[in-house]
Subunit: 117 residues, 2 copies
């Protein structure tokens, strides 16, 4: 792609001033805000779950950060391809809603990572 | 693979007691020690560089942590497949050496991430 084109496909803040548009550091994805399709903030990226053998990101764990940061966080898996970086929001938009997080989110990151639901 | 088999292929601490052997969280890989083929400690995993579109880990950035933690860290790229988890060391073994890091490592993480050498 052209050097200055902004690539908003998949996760990753567009970075116009550096040479590599195609890659993003895991530490930059972690902590980035996640918004639902309705524009409401859901939470942030907790981590990326990576296939040990292939290095393919299987999914991302999104956390709602708990109630007023007082704990009780809920976690959900979101496919990498379901995250789209939205420059205006400064975060990702995902095909989930706050209600889905409340109803189906796991109460521990470990549960979410282990795909036990 | 059988539930209790230890999988040491690719990065990832073997976890015998949980249900999912195949995936590892990016936050668990980050910070894990990296050793050279000669057994000497090289540094630790700084982050994972992920293809924004496909979610494939292109490579891992290894940092030597600087001299006595006083800054001046050097960074190198290592292929995901070149990292093998070694339970006895509690870290990854990679096909690089301390000398390679000293001679070819970049002085900033950004340079290493951008693949400019």
């Amino acid at each position: 792609m052209p050097e200055r084109e902004i690539d908003t496909s998949g996760p990753g803040a567009p970075v116009e001033t550096v040479g590599n548009h195609e890659l993003i550091g895991s530490d930059r994805v972690e902590g980035t805000s996640v918004y639902g399709t309705d524009g409401a903030k859901i939470g942030h990226v907790h981590n990326l779950m990576v296939n040990k053998r292939t290095g393919q990101v299987a999914h991302v764990i999104v956390s709602d950060g708990g109630l007023f940061g007082l704990g009780g966080s809920r976690y959900m898996r979101v496919s990498w391809g379901d995250l789209t970086y939205e420059p205006d929001l400064g975060g990702y938009v995902a095909g989930i809603t706050k209600d889905m997080m409340d109803e189906r989110g796991r109460i521990s990151a470990e549960d979410a990572e282990m795909q036990i639901w």
